[in-house]
């Protein structure tokens, strides 16, 4: 009987965090020798589900079955006993140890109470061979590329006889070649009886690799696709839950004169490249590119966090000297950073104090005394205007959902009425509803004459929201596309380094 039961079954699993319902009655089935792709927007609950399967977090309710038998997964060791191993998005390896020591970390073979290095490395060589990695186990991990380190992590999972490998965005920091190697390893493992749950945003990869697709949206099942049904539009429709054109409802409105002009800007991360572009009043400019293309660094340099090596920045035609966020704010710039919890918010402070933070200096009374009335006023206005869902202005920011946290960060800046809003991955990790609100807000702000420059790794978002798209590749701007020139293919061509042919 157990032969016919699926390898892994998730039944009606629920999980809540303070302020967020992360998962609601999720079902998932994984068969033997299968690659199941799990897709969904950021914040759809994929990572939470995977953490539950890996024993990092217990579910609130629901059941997990392995070979048809209910299992209790409370800890990582429970998961490993059940044969489930998670390959983390951020690798969980110690780069000060050797490859072999990483594979057997916590399970070191011992002789006379001491680590039996010889046996450890011999065993490590065997599992490394299974993932096609030909390195000496005595090599320090830090000498391996990220792609190879990932294979070490997979080898580690195999060494504990994992039957289910969960891979969370494994290709996000891999080169094209490393990605191909990884795919070969995954396919090989599948043929040898290992099952893989593969989480990715890259629908192209999903199409190539997956036997079946499960789509999540807002913590719920949005639908499954069998191998034959897997195509790009079908996946997007299930992820977004409606037609894309409707989702990114842009209205055309007149674009004003030039607000920001950048001439030959060089960032410390990519000192060899010069960036030049313009942003106009009332215009939404998207910045597309692969992860690591230098987009965040460009925003950081504009905002005075990173040092500008050369080049000029002009606002309203006047050259400006911006060497710190203080000066950037004085010139009417605002930055909603990529890492909300590290750079955007003081998560342990209240909504009120976060909204007020950037305006403290501007609003201060004589002698540097706080202007609490202004802070109260701004907070109330932003809670209303941005529809921030919070029990009150004194709620501590960390108890808000990602989307509402992001609105607090945006509110902090809008209270200062900036002229140029820089947004770095503004919808990362927030739910679909909040996403839509942020899109509408961007639209409204542009309509009011604000210039918006936003970086996004989600192609649909860039294409849907931008009047114009700047595409970057390895630190350089490889081209600009007007709204009517936009296509997924055109953006990807530029994002992978092919220059736009000179306008005919």
């Amino acid at each position: 009987m157990t032969d016919t039961a699926p390898l892994l079954q998730v039944c009606k699993v629920c999980k809540s965090f303070p302020g967020v319902r992360a998962l609601h009655e999720i079902d998932l089935t994984l068969h033997r020798s299968e690659v199941l792709a799990l897709i969904g927007e950021n914040g759809a609950g994929k990572s939470t589900l995977m953490k539950i399967l890996a024993g990092v977090q217990p579910p609130d309710t629901g059941e997990i079955r392995v070979d048809g038998q209910p299992v209790e997964i409370r800890t990582v060791n429970d998961a490993l006993d059940a044969g489930i191993a998670l390959i983390h998005q951020e690798l969980n390896l110690a780069d000060n140890l050797t490859v072999g020591a990483n594979i057997y970390l916590g399970r070191e073979p011992r002789r006379l109470g001491l680590i039996d290095t010889k046996r450890m490395n011999r065993d490590a060589r065997d599992v490394l061979r299974r993932v096609g990695l030909d390195v000496d186990p005595a090599t320090p991990l830090s000498q391996l590329s990220i792609g190879r380190q990932q294979l070490v992590e997979i080898a580690k999972a195999l060494s504990i006889n994992a039957r289910v490998l969960i891979m969370d965005e494994p290709t996000s920091s891999l080169s094209a070649h490393e990605t191909e190697t990884l795919f070969d390893v995954v396919k090989d493992l599948r043929n040898k009886g290992v099952s893989v749950i593969y989480i990715s945003h890259r629908l192209g990869e999903v199409k190539e690799l997956a036997d079946r697709v499960t789509v999540m949206r807002d913590g719920e099942n949005a639908g499954d696709l069998d191998h034959a049904q897997i195509d790009h539009d079908a996946m997007v429709r299930l992820m977004v839950g409606r037609d894309i054109s409707q989702f990114y409802a842009r209205q055309q409105h007149p674009i004003g004169d030039t607000l920001l002009e950048v001439r030959g800007l060089a960032t410390p991360t990519w000192p060899g490249h010069r960036l030049s572009f313009k942003v106009h009043r009332g215009e939404i400019v998207g910045v597309a590119g692969l992860v690591g293309a230098g987009r965040t660094e460009m925003l950081r340099t504009l905002f005075g966090i990173d040092r500008r090596l050369t080049g000029e920045v002009l606002i309203d035609g006047q050259p400006v000297e911006i060497t710190s966020p203080i000066e950037a704010i004085e010139h009417g710039l605002a930055l909603v950073p990529e890492d909300r919890k590290q750079h955007g918010l003081v998560v342990d402070m209240s909504v009120r104090h976060n909204v007020g933070l950037a305006g403290l200096h501007r609003n201060a009374r004589t002698g540097g005394m706080l202007n609490q009335a202004q802070e109260d006023h701004d907070t109330a206005e932003m809670i209303g205007k941005l529809n921030i869902k919070t029990p009150g202005p004194d709620q501590v920011a960390k108890f808000l959902s990602g989307g509402n946290q992001q609105k607090v960060v945006i509110g902090k800046w809008l209270a200062l009425s900036p002229r140029l809003l820089l947004l770095d991955e503004p919808t990362r990790g927030i739910d679909v509803g909040a996403k839509e609100e942020i899109y509408k807000l961007m639209e409204r702000l542009a309509e009011q004459g604000m210039a918006v420059l936003f970086v996004s790794s989600e192609l649909e978002e860039v294409m849907g929201m931008s009047d114009r798209v700047i595409v970057m590749h390895e630190g350089a701007i490889t081209g600009e596309l007007m709204r009517d020139e936009l296509s997924e293919e055109a953006v990807m061509q530029l994002a992978t380094g092919r220059q736009k042919s000179p306008a005919a």
Binding site: S16, L335, V346, V347, M349, G356, L360, G368, L370
Partner: protein, 503 residues
Amino acid sequence: MNAKVIGITVLLAALCVFMMIMTYDSATGDIAFAKAGNIENLLRRTAMYGILGIGVALVIISSGIDLSIGSVVCLSGCLLAIFLSVTYTPFEGEPIAQVRGADKTIVLKGDVALFKPGDRIRYWGGRRAGNAVVNVTAVKPGVSSDGGVVTEITVDQALSGDDTYGQVAKVYAVTGATDTDATVTIRGAHADLAARDQITLAHPKSGLRQLTITGVTVDSDSTTLTVNEKPGGVTNEWVATLLERNQYMSIPLALLSVLGIAIGLGLIHGLLITKMKMQPFVVTLCGLLIYRGLSREIAKDQPVGFYNEFTDTLSPLATGKVTLWTAADGTSFGIPYPFFIMAFLMIAAMVFLNRTIWGRYLLALGRNEQAARYSGINTDRVVIVAYVICTALAGAGGMLFALDANSISPSSFGNFFELYAIAAAVLGGCSLRGGEGTIIGVVIGTAVMQVLYTLTVMLKISDRLEYTIIGAVLLLGVLADEVFKRLAAKRRAVLQARAAQPE
């Protein structure tokens, strides 16, 4: 009010009640703990340690640490004593180069025109030659063995030995002395004498008396001095040497100099931590070592102090009090002055932390320095200000501790004070993660530590256990806080889960 502040206040109250019960003497009905003297002492100690605690609390809120406080306290105390050091030098006197006793000769360095034949002079301060009052018979220039110019004075009596130490000064005949109003009249009009200068009264054979002048009346050929004690038995046979009081710095200048040096040290700490990105622990640990050594060096590892020089001026700042009532037996109760200083600083710090943008910056950057920087806050400047305030308060506290102790030894003064201050801040609700803490909590935390100290003394627990008790209470306090926090988080999670549960 903040839950942590309530918690620590309850702890303080419980400790005080416990102490009152334990020190109740059923035979006499006395409660030793509640005696005026003890309460005053507690207030004074709480005030002085509290000043240090307030400073370190601001640094801890910035998510830093200052380990140098104890050494800054010591350095400030030593500097204040040195800046206010008082010396008495004779009017119309000179240090000697050499005394040749049998030759009746005193040799002075250089060409000295001060003494003439017929002058009476006094020699003192020798190691082998005794003090003497003699008459000058001749003065002539000479040459020393190394070729320098000297002045050789011949006197009418042999001195009791040869010497290279000591000094000589003119003496003036005492023409009168009264005990009723404590005056001494001497020959000559000495208009440059002033109150707080001293006179040495010497009898050629027997007595020697050092008196401090409190008033001067100059006549045409005599000067009448009122002095600090009755001259008693001084006759016309006595002579007087006049000593001028020299204070190295004026009191305001000394206070400002010490404060300025402390601020300078804080500035250095802050700059190293922000601009050079050094760790606060390391920077201030080095400070702890450096300033301790410097203190011992400038004080030559000898105790330094204020003697009785400032009992009416500066010392009461630390030792005095505002008397509230006096009992029939003459004992009184009052609020010690340092308590007012601390209260003022406490209120200023509370306003700074809660009502100014700087305080808000400090709270924000203490929790998330990056987010504060991204919000356009000059985080470096705020951190530097926190370190400057911390060492400035350590400097101010150090001066009060030194004035209170009156004499301090540079090798031990202020030892462990940084740990007292940090412990009080933590007990009072500061988190070493930064961004969290209240000023009032820190002051109450300091009071708890002082009551604990009193506990070891009054309950006759061996003072060897003092640190153990303070450490244990601190540990339990932080543990209790953590337990409460977890309970609250658990309750919140349950409530949230219930609220999120679909109907």
